[in-house]
Subunit: 367 residues, 2 copies
């Protein structure tokens, strides 16, 4: 067991995929730029590989992805990892760059041992309400910190802003926005504010080819990703939402295609359902509006919902571009004009930025 | 001298005007809601009155404005205040709710004594570059914190977002926006995206009557307020801007009216100059655009400027409503679509909110 090290913070990273690789690049930069506190990467793992040592020796961050690929060590079980990090005697931050429910379920154990957590993983904060309560109770008891800015809107300051509003005593009345880069891209192309837009199935196919969707586009079209984000924001606004399936979520997967055996089969059969989406689009156009896939939280009536809505062409939600997110906070202090945050809400670099800025927050508090 | 008190933070407040009163209301709420750390208001002053005791006894926050009005104590000189707060032995935060250059000039002394500062006062951060350097050097040495979110865009998360971008290693290429609630209101009414808008002098008069301008509207129209905000953001983005007069700032005060002896005389004579503004508006309209008063920072070319610009009707800056601010950050990571923050950028409650959330940040770090 290493002796307590003043001015050092140990970093443990789980996950080295898209976001994970970008985070490691930012961590390397950060460690080089800031002499104090000394940041020591003492554990890193993917689903199959890991690097760590009993002495909690610092792992060179430079090129760690390839070192990891050739490592012969396998990841510690989560309970072992809690123990390994907890007994170092050094302030430690766990960076969870996975989207794993298993890792999320172990947060209360990590936090209970005084290990802080920063993560873009939505699962911990949008799963059962019990897990949410366990996480924050464990942090409260031990004094460990937990931040998850990138779980909504990637690096956009969405969660920190909502917390500031609530913590300074403002009354949030409504939150509304486009919370999915994929859905944003699809509807900005399918139903643009000027021009006629493409066919629905063709736009979904294009989005997949551009890498804007999950491998199976149904994982975006079912609305669950947006529902998870809404669950997180609703809870932060004070509503004890039980789960992301506890409120109405409109799925854009035609019933008949729910059982398609693959994303490819789904895409092949989707054109047969274009007429439905065309109808929705035409109905909006008749009112001089466009259709968008949005989420909203009405705090007073405790209503959370996700689905298609119509917007005037001059509405900021209609005017969105590319795969941008937009989030509007209506509050007592801000009155009729909401506080709006807009920009890229997906992508490795901007998601990792949210994680890195959370890490900086934790460092300013524990080091 | 009081003994060091664990779990207590002393708060000293200078200024109890519009923002100051709103802050005190938020502080009272906060102290009631959060048992730890215990927040003790130990000093409060206006320009003429003060309340404090040698024992640093906590002053009841409830109704403190009226207690203050009937107090027989006068404010301590700033050097005395540094001493008074510094010798309490308790972690202390100075909340400067004034717009005083004198108080700003004393920040390095406060910080040097380990007293943290939160403030909406622009003067300290937009004055001489030497003062800026002295402030952050003093904080660095003592470990005291200094936050000033409300010095730009009131409670909007403008400064925290820019710091996050820079601190996580993003490259900010350009910052552009409408930084004055007064200018926003004036141009949204004078040159709306639909309809013809009012006469310039009439809009200025209306804005003054609605309380949207300084007592003398020339203090808004000279562009200095915007120039101060640009100076702060430019410095945070890494440009060592010497002062708010070190770059081009367009004044909307006709030369002939610079010497008017009062705001009233100015308003009386302004209609004679409406033709100039009408011409500017018509020139923009000819290109299908509207005119707006904006500030911009081009980081690569190190160009900062403040003045009138023309925007397409579909541009977010053109579509702004009421007295909202909008700030766009163009960065390497965010690519062609900027990160945008929009909403009320003035008003007592939202400005105080920025101060209170800064205070919460400091508390999370020092308590």
């Amino acid at each position: 067991m290493a002796a307590a090290s003043v001015g050092q913070v140990n970093i443990a990273v789980i996950g080295a995929g898209g976001v994970g690789k970008c985070f490691l690049a930012q961590l390397e930069q950060l460690a080089a730029r800031r002499p104090s506190p000394k940041l020591a990467l003492t554990y890193i793992s993917t689903s199959k590989k890991a690097i760590y040592s009993d002495e909690h020796a610092a792992i060179p961050i430079n090129d760690v992805s390839s070192t990891l690929a050739s490592s012969r060590q396998t990841p510690l079980a989560l309970s072992q990892l809690v123990d390994f990090l907890g007994k170092s005697g050094v302030n430690t931050v766990l960076v969870d760059n996975t989207s794993s429910q298993d890792v999320a379920d172990a947060y209360p154990q990590f936090l209970g041992r005084g290990i802080s957590i920063v993560t873009p993983n939505k699962k911990a904060f949008s799963g059962s309400y019990q897990l949410w309560q366990d996480i924050f109770a464990a942090a409260e008891r031990s004094g460990a910190r937990v931040y998850h800015e990138s779980s909504v809107g990637a690096g956009l300051p969405v969660i920190s802003t909502l917390k500031d509003l609530v913590d300074t005593g403002d009354e949030v009345t409504k939150i509304e926005g486009v919370f999915s880069g994929t859905m944003s891209f699809l509807f900005n192309s399918f139903a643009p504010t000027s021009g006629s837009g493409g066919q629905w199935s063709a736009e979904v196919k294009k989005a997949k080819e551009l890498g804007y969707t999950e491998p199976d586009p149904r994982d975006d079209l079912n609305g669950l990703d947006v529902a998870r984000k809404l669950t997180i924001l609703a809870r932060l606004a004070g509503l004890p939402v039980e789960s992301p399936t506890a409120f109405p979520v409109q799925s854009l997967i035609p019933k008949e295609l729910e059982s398609a055996t693959s994303g490819d089969e789904f895409l092949e059969k989707l054109p047969a359902f274009d007429a439905q989406m065309e109808e929705t689009k035409a109905a909006a156009e008749k009112e001089g509006k466009v259709v968008r896939f949005v989420g909203s939280i009405d705090v007073a009536t405790k209503q959370v919902k996700v689905g298609l809505e119509k917007f005037d062409l001059s509405h900021p939600i209609a005017a969105l571009k590319g795969s941008d997110n937009i989030i509007s906070f209506y509050t007592k202090r801000y009155g009729s004009n909401p506080l709006i945050i807009q920009g890229a809400g997906a992508g490795g670099d901007v998601t990792a930025m949210g994680v890195t800025s959370d890490l900086l927050k934790v460092l300013s508090q524990i080091a």
